[in-house]
Symmetry: C2
Subunit: 482 residues, 2 copies
């Protein structure tokens, strides 16, 4: 089904076709393959994936994107669409063959319209997530998508990966925040379904398939997203407890009481706090005694700060009364809130400073989390004695980042040799528990073969039929996902 790029073209044909791409959008919007300015587009930030490309195209409009796609069809040129290049599974990086053109949407970064009555805005794919957040706040509204990379990731990338982050519990994933899309199809046509409508059942909701398709089915050029009332108060607690089972019981209790007001519920083990205290300047342990596990959670109020704080304190009291909690601290100011969140937000950075790590972005049904954590820990330690699992993440969503640090005395390269067998065994456990091997980071290049293992044949066949229906000649981000 896939056309193998330009491999049948002669060299001069190739050069002519590349020149045609340059002519379409002007040399000022192209970075050619002898230019070192290409580098930031060809390497993923952890250095796990590298690629080559004849051209990085930086179109400035949807019409330019459509023209590029039409030319790509004519010349059988594969296109790898890229946003902020913060993806973690290699989806945004071309391969090494120097035939795939990188289509960066960075220059399409306008907020086109804002509608305070519908509480929505329409922005282009290349706008930085933080820009959307800030824009909403300036208008006394709130865009809840939030994650560590928000200062550089783009809305288009968030859509292409159906991004998650720290506010999913109350507000949902990127899919849930999306009302309308504009996209360019494989035939180079523009479909504009930008819309603030909250109820629309006029035909198949194809835009749902584009969301989370990592650039393999079409090119998302703009989106209309939901905004929410701006919270007026937010209270944070950092809680010490004995076990994931107690954390889960606490979560269940808090959600039943607080509903949508419980906006975050994160878990981490003592090892995580140890790494933060070792590597992150300004971090300090909120408690005198160490505990095996910690929870960080937020209660948000639309009314005021007092109400958020009162509600959080009464929930924690109930946790105490039910013997779920060893100790807890509350933020009394925004500064204290930031200090508590630092203990969670900088975990990845702290772990990176501890040497090599093998990472898993998985989700499991909530009631299996204690079981998962126990068994995954055993599997990892059995495979690499001395390795140090650091499972942390969005417990309320069932989403655990099961990241394993290398043994202290092992060379990083030696440890990373275990990536495949470790990942296989963790994914097998996840599949057995009916979880997902790709919770919020996507499939990309990294998990393509793992996906085929995790899904049954009928489902994989359906995904391939979908790919063929949307992209019959296979020019969109080849060899990713399916």
């Amino acid at each position: 089904m896939r056309v193998s790029g330009s491999q049948n073209m002669t060299k001069s044909n190739k050069t002519a076709s590349y020149q045609a791409f340059i002519d379409l959008i002007g040399a000022q919007n192209v970075i050619q393959d002898d230019d070192p300015a290409q580098k930031p587009f060809l390497e993923e930030w952890r250095g796990l994936y590298h690629g080559r490309t004849p051209l990085v195209l930086l179109p400035q409009s949807t019409e330019q994107v459509a023209a590029i796609v039409r030319l790509a069809q004519e010349t059988s040129t594969p296109l790898v669409t890229q946003g902020g290049n913060t993806g973690l599974v290699g989806g945004q990086i071309p391969d090494e063959d120097n035939r795939q053109i990188v289509l960066s949407l960075k220059k399409m970064n306008r907020i086109r319209t804002f509608d305070p009555v519908s509480a929505s805005l329409t922005a282009e794919a290349g706008v930085i997530l933080q820009h959307v957040q800030d824009y909403a706040l300036k208008h006394n509204l709130f865009f809840p998508l939030s994650m560590a990379s928000e200062g550089s990731c783009t809305l288009g990338g968030n859509l292409a990966t159906n991004a998650g982050g720290i506010n999913v519990l109350a507000y949902g994933n990127m899919r849930d925040l999306t009302l309308g899309l504009e996209c360019v199809t494989a035939s180079g046509e523009i479909i504009s379904a930008l819309s603030p409508l909250r109820k629309d059942n006029a035909g198949y909701d194809w835009k749902q398939l584009l969301i989370g398709s990592e650039g393999t089915l079409g090119i998302i050029t703009a989106a209309t997203v939901k905004l929410f009332p701006r919270p007026k108060g937010q209270a944070t607690a950092f809680i010490a407890l004995d076990s994931p089972a107690k954390a889960l019981a606490l979560f269940t209790l808090m959600r039943r009481r607080a509903g949508f007001s419980l906006t975050s519920f994160e878990i981490m083990p003592r090892f995580g706090l140890d790494l933060i205290l070792t590597h992150i300047k300004g971090a300090r342990d909120p408690f005198k005694e160490p505990a095996p596990w910690y929870v960080l959670c937020d209660i948000t109020s639309l009314e005021d700060q007092d109400r958020a704080q009162t509600q959080l304190q009464s929930l924690i009291q109930e946790g105490w009364d039910n013997a779920l909690i060893n100790n807890a601290v509350f933020s009394q100011s925004e500064e204290q809130r930031q200090a508590l969140w630092l203990l969670r937000e900088r975990l990845s950075e702290a772990q990176k400073l501890e040497g090599g790590s093998i990472k898993h972005d998985i989700s499991v049904p909530l009631n299996t989390i204690p079981d998962f954590l126990h068994k995954a820990d055993q599997l990892a330690r059995a495979l690499v004695p001395g390795c140090r699992p650091l499972p942390f993440g969005h417990m309320g969503d069932g989403n655990i980042h099961f990241n394993v640090s290398q043994p202290v005395s092992m060379a990083k390269e030696d440890f990373l040799q275990f990536w495949e067998p470790m990942t296989e065994s963790i994914h097998a456990l996840v599949t057995e528990l009916q979880g997902s091997i790709a919770a919020e980071h996507g499939i990309g290049r990294m998990k393509r073969s793992a996906l085929a293992l995790a899904k049954n044949d009928a489902e994989m066949a359906l995904m391939r039929r979908i790919k063929a229906a949307f992209d019959p000649n296979g020019i969109f981000n080849p060899h990713k996902i399916v």
Copy 2:
């Protein structure tokens, strides 16, 4: 692309093939075409659509459904899947050719599993919506999907139409309430993606396409749905005001303050209240003076009744202070709350007793609602002088049921002659305002040609490619949607 049913079969072939369907699931699960018990499956409740069928099949398991689909493929037999037969656009009714088999999922009505920790349950497609609601309440949880037909519509029908209803404002449409699906594909394979996961990006999210596809892409046999904390308090207000513009300003104010606690915001004109007072026993006008427009709204609290009431009263006070409101009454008891809701819930019934009506289920961007209401009223009255528009519905979702009652002195049949020209002109206005011609009732048979008018060619072509990818031989609910 479509195969034209069994038209190339001889009569005895047909009979043999029908017998094979009967053999698959047993005669006790089949209603044959000489049996008057077929009737409830072949007529839509308003009498707008009638069909014929050789067999009504009532399978009892997903495996039986899969076997039926495989036989349907072999014999090129079209299947019309049906739930509670409460749909409003004819999607669930076979045509008059007596070749389409009705596949009723009514006997697949078990709740399979309940998971209090993930706050979800898994139920078969044929379970009645109210059964799901009741089951959740019994476990101190809440399933928010709610609509007039909830006593007879099924979860499968809700999924197939991406149903909306009165709680969309806070909780979303059926799509937003769905976590996982089990379905039977056109090749008769079962894909089980039943799952309570809230974050899952493992490949294309094909289940999103099945939701809202009205039985044309696959057969949904079961689903895992989200449950929510059970509200502890609910306060309702019935508000008199001057205009839709003031109602919109009140909505904006209330949502900014109350966020997810504002669970309903419905609008109706004086004419609606007049019909209720005329036709519905026990209804009474809450006010001494008539007003041109009314709003009914709910504030819900997870804490207690007091809190819901206090919050609602302070919001209404703010509406007063901003000169948006003429008058308002609050429920002081659950009985009073029901009495206020009766004024909204029985509008369709009251309008039916007033003679013929031409109905439109549309949505428009919120800020265009006043403009839409004004222009649509003019269009209707210009086309049929003396007709009486009754626009009501879920204003907070931009979803208006623009239902036009016949002139008092006209024969019903004469008025209904205007269905097509009136619908065309209302839909054209909706399209001009960038709204949707199918907000929550779907496309079915009724709006198939209207859909092709409202969408551009590229989008219609994409929908047809999707249909071909999922159902290459066109056996699923032919001639519906695309």
